[in-house]
Symmetry: C2
Subunit: 353 residues, 2 copies
């Protein structure tokens, strides 16, 4: 005869009890409702066969007892946990946080739950993090930061865990990939500059670029050369930031030939460029220099900037990611490869030709 669970359900919890109080389980509900544990389980399983009467009695008992299905136990039993891991660094940066929010919300709408896994800490490399996702038996893992090694990727996949990479290196074989058409955006940026009559384009990026950042800068340079222009390129710092934009500007505008158009691989850098160009070189934007950024962060719309930039199709990315995370693995033939177009947001930092 069980001890712990047979506490009379009508006894309100005493203050002294609190520390030792256990979660109420299906057994207690079954007893109160006068049915079997199976019936309780079925009541909370959509589509299972329970009579309406049983159902109501169980629901009532669950309500009074404060019963909540243990999703962990359910996960163990069903081999499907409803957990999706989100691997991300710099979750306090504008873009990652927007995406994290969108994905988490859509996951919740689908009845799933997001486990947030931060990479980049001292002891938290991507492999360690993915192993944690394995520990928690996530149905799928969505990687937004870092580049997982092929071996750990295999390990996830072999264990039947779906793996979705967002804006990562797409040469890793196995996972689904959701990508941005960075090159296309860069070409579009150059096109805009040319149309505005600019003839001395420049691009500012970082020393150690992520694949996305490199793709933007490289495609821009390539497109410029294709029309016979040799753009100045400044690579500064380890990460894209406002300060790098300021620094890049100093370099750019003290050179022999000053650029008349600057493509920045992200917005923060663009703000730095704009401010430095104005305050340190007395230039007007866009009359003297046109500037295009990437990310469409909130401040891009603020008065002093009004930055023309590329947005991330956050909603579409999130939708695809959640779809892939939910889809049954068996149902799909090959890994997916989805490429999305970053929409241009036209504001006022590009001259009108």
């Amino acid at each position: 005869m069980p001890g712990r669970d047979s506490t009379p359900p009508d006894t309100p919890p005493q203050e002294e009890d609190l520390a030792s109080r256990r979660f109420v389980g299906a057994r207690a509900v079954a007893e109160l409702a006068g049915v079997s544990r199976s019936a309780v389980s079925r009541t909370f399983t959509p589509g299972a066969s329970v009579s309406e009467e049983t159902r109501q009695r169980v629901l009532a008992a669950a309500e009074t007892l404060g019963y909540h299905v243990n999703h962990l136990a359910r996960g163990v039993s069903r081999q499907e946990t409803g957990i999706v891991c989100l691997v991300v660094a710099d979750i306090d940066a504008a873009q990652p946080s927007r995406l994290t929010r969108a994905i988490t919300e859509k996951l919740q709408d689908a009845g799933k739950v997001a486990v947030l896994l931060c990479v980049g800490g001292p002891s938290d490399d991507v492999a360690t993090t993915l192993r944690r996702a394995l520990n928690y038996r996530a149905d799928a893992t969505i990687v937004m930061s870092g580049t997982p090694a092929q071996s750990i990727v295999r390990e996830c996949l072999d264990n039947g865990q779906r793996l979705i990479l967002i804006s990562r290196d797409d040469r890793i074989v196995g996972p689904d990939n959701i990508l941005l058409d960075n090159a296309g955006a860069a070409r579009q940026a150059l096109g805009l500059f040319l149309r505005a009559g600019c003839r001395r384009p420049a691009v500012v990026t970082t020393e150690l670029g992520t694949p996305s950042l490199s793709a933007r800068a490289d495609a821009f340079v390539e497109a410029a050369r294709a029309v016979g222009l040799e753009p100045a390129v400044v690579r500064l710092g380890q990460m894209t930031s406002y300060d790098n934009g300021v620094g890049a500007t100093r370099r750019l505008f003290t050179a022999a030939e000053r650029p008349d158009a600057v493509f920045c691989v992200n917005d923060a850098t663009a703000f730095g460029v704009i401010d430095a160009a104005r305050h340190e070189f007395g230039l007007r934007v866009p009359e003297d220099v046109s500037v295009i950024g990437f990310d469409n962060v909130m401040q891009a719309g603020w008065m002093p900037y009004q930055l023309t930039t590329f947005d991330h199709p956050v909603d579409a990315i999130a939708r695809h990611a959640v779809d892939l995370a939910s889809g049954s693995r068996a149902a799909r033939a090959a890994p997916a490869r989805i490429e999305l177009t970053p929409p241009l947001v036209w504001r006022r930092t590009v001259r009108i030709g």
Copy 2:
């Protein structure tokens, strides 16, 4: 005799197998290592008694098989899951995302994992969200957004789930509270203005303030009155934003008596005030108006703003939250109430008296 698990471990997974591949379990590891399941379990339980030799054999077997302890099953068995839920809205806003990151990282360092629960969606009120935390048997839930009803709070607590409220209404009884001394900061802001020689202070906030926002505005007004000044107060919009700052400025500076100091309950609003004051009213900051914000977001340090503002003690908040989330409930007598001081960040938007 078990079928599924008895697949020879040395057979590499075939491509066709993938869809049906199961996670490898302790049994398979035990078999390969030639020990009992208990031994496997003990090997992965810090402090359990296993001989070094057994331990090594188990570890080797686990490595070849790619075994990862199932933390869900462990949680069911141990009645402790290592899961901590983070309830948050607007995770893409500056402050929440900083805090989310800090807490998540510290949680990981402590061997725990963060489940991100977004509130504020259509069907996602605080109660629904908290119920989800119950479903996943989180050891603790940290609430950073929304105000949970007393009833659901009781339900969590009764189930032995720790509940930590950050900057929430502290009249809710039961949970631990981590609070900011908003009133103190507001008083300090007024003091700074007075020292700068300002005599016409104003405060801008929202119509529908959170407790934190109200506390800042109210304390500022009160402190001003205490020295015989009646500050102008503008309440605009449902949420603090750049645009509200712009709007508030139009109101403030078309009034009969223009303020010479404005305290904004957050930075975004302050940026709006500064830009509007400069561009629409031709005023100089801080010569004509002093401005103080709250949040110390990244842009506060950017060239055009250089905003004097209050920072959030993010690290201290996170540390306390994680401590409380980890502490054994039995060990603590009463709910904790911790009040932290927001440090002032002095920049250039306040005149030097």
